[in-house]
Subunit: 330 residues, 2 copies
């Protein structure tokens, strides 16, 4: 399985503890989608579904499922629905961003064309929805559709906000809730619901998912500045270069509210040069560390949410994922 190739088996086992051995079943279910009649569709699916990734979202769904009756007949399609919804949104995001690469590999939008990528994303949405339907649990299905709505709205907000100056940190947090944290929250909540966990634990897991999701996205946005172009598979600071203000850039603007390269660029003055200057400034500053401090606050809230769960290996593993999210470099 790709995920197992991407991350050493030992690392996965340590990270995902009591569900590590079951994640390959999720991968296998997703991989089964490439078995279609049409060769052109098979090629599109192979290149899109073979990208690897750490399967963090499905792992959270399975770990939440460890709190009640751990029924893999329901949890494997549920976890696959979460991962596939994530993949489908990436395919559509890449159309939007006209991104040539993701994780160092060409995107579907670059390999095929925008039109096919739109439909490929829809096709993956449909399969994700079909997987979640297999749980037969109407509230779980409803959470899924609600997440799709919130994610689309979050991406729309980001698109609308590009090259607008009047962003602030609260709106940034709202946006990354929609774009990223809502799916983490649903992964955790749906895992708990499917498995029949008590309502108090279901609510705690939703909260855990939402908070770790925010932390995850802030770290992502920090890495976009901090990592090397080689690690990222794209230029450092590419979000800002595309006009998207993430936390480090917002803090940078707060630090010089009257005049700075971002403001000049957004006003249309030597856009590229000013943004590149801003990226260099941010990389050289302590704003990335300040952003990480914010990520750690959300991570602490994620950990606090776990207090409502019974002690044991699933809870300890979820706790360990919080550390992992903060420490990751890619």
């Amino acid at each position: 399985m790709t995920a197992v190739n991407a991350v050493a088996r030992g690392e996965l086992a340590a990270l995902y503890g009591p569900v590590a051995d079951d994640l390959p079943r999720v991968d296998a279910l997703i991989a089964s989608l490439v078995q279609v009649e049409f060769p052109w569709l098979r090629r599109m699916l192979e290149s899109t579904l073979g990208g690897g990734g750490k399967r963090l979202r499905p792992a959270i769904a399975l770990l939440a499922g460890r709190l009640g009756r751990y029924d893999l007949e329901l949890l494997v399609p549920l976890a696959a629905s979460v991962e596939l919804l994530h993949t489908a949104t990436l395919v559509h995001d890449d159309v939007i961003d006209a991104a040539p690469k993701r994780r160092g590999r060409p995107t579907a939008a670059a390999l095929f064309n925008n039109a096919s990528s739109v439909m490929l994303g829809d096709y993956l949405f449909a399969h994700a929805a079909e997987f979640v339907t297999r749980t037969g649990h109407v509230q779980v299905i409803r959470n899924f559709t609600d997440t799709l709505r919130v994610m689309a709205q979050g991406e729309l907000a980001q698109d609308i906000a590009a090259f607008e100056y009047s962003r602030d940190v609260q709106r940034y947090l709202d946006r990354i809730h929609g774009k990223t944290a809502s799916l983490f929250a649903t992964a955790a909540e749906n895992g708990a619901l499917v498995t029949g966990a008590p309502e108090r634990e279901v609510r705690a897991l939703r909260r855990f998912g939402a908070q770790i999701g925010i932390a995850f996205q802030i770290v992502d946005d920090v890495l976009d500045f901090a990592a090397t172009a080689e690690e990222l598979g794209k230029p450092a600071g590419s979000d800002l270069l595309a006009g998207t203000l993430t936390l480090p850039a917002l803090l940078y603007m707060e630090s010089a509210p009257d005049d700075n390269p971002v403001r000049r660029a957004f006003a249309g003055t030597r856009r590229r040069a000013n943004l590149q200057r801003a990226v260099a400034d941010i990389r050289a500053s302590d704003l990335l560390e300040q952003s990480m401090a914010t990520a750690r606050r959300f991570a602490d809230e994620a950990r606090a949410a776990l207090d409502a769960l019974p002690a044991g290996e699933p809870r300890a593993t979820l706790d360990g994922l919080v550390d992992y999210v903060l420490a990751r470099r890619s």
Copy 2:
């Protein structure tokens, strides 16, 4: 309500008989989606959901619902899910086709941009899925997700096939099943399922929907050639001009297999001029009438499927819709 504006009340009442008075509730549910917090999103939704249309698909869902317990609490969201799935696919199709207008109005892709239109379509998919979830009927939800998959696959097939010569009538019929008829089939089947109709009638309605859907799309494809640019809101023959071979064009190619303007255009020779020549040839020929004869065969099969239903006003109204689909001019 827009649908009521678009078609005179009397005509709607005659066409949709025992469900005509309930369609405004479907419109109202869809229209309620524009009540969102963000002004930019509200504007997008207003322009997308206000386009009118005859509400043929939701009417079929409600009519199917007349065969069992006619529960509008379930049938209104179901019918809305069908119409909204249709709308969402149109939004994505217009991204793909880069269509400036539909029904004589600017498309979302033209008004906003491709990126926003992709996400707007996803947002509408999510609401459509939420509506169908309100039925609480897992098989109904599953049919919905299956239809989304088949529709996306049908559009992908059309995109892949553009400017390929080796199309034949059977593949055209497969493609329009995916693109159009699958949603008609699901509208009819889901209406029957929600309402608790006997299985034999559920199957008959699915078949009815699939056959009337094929007839509907063939008529659409004929109108693309036959209607005036004013009626269409786009140039006559625009499908062929965009490289999509529909039934009239396929029959035209069969009529001159060795050499004709379409083949020359597809081989890259004076593409635009050759395709315009082909459009003029087709308009002057009896190929549109031949295509309509094919549509009538599917319409007859749709009528035959109704034999399995009890006699009465719902069945008679569905029968009348078959005539309407064949006779319509827009």
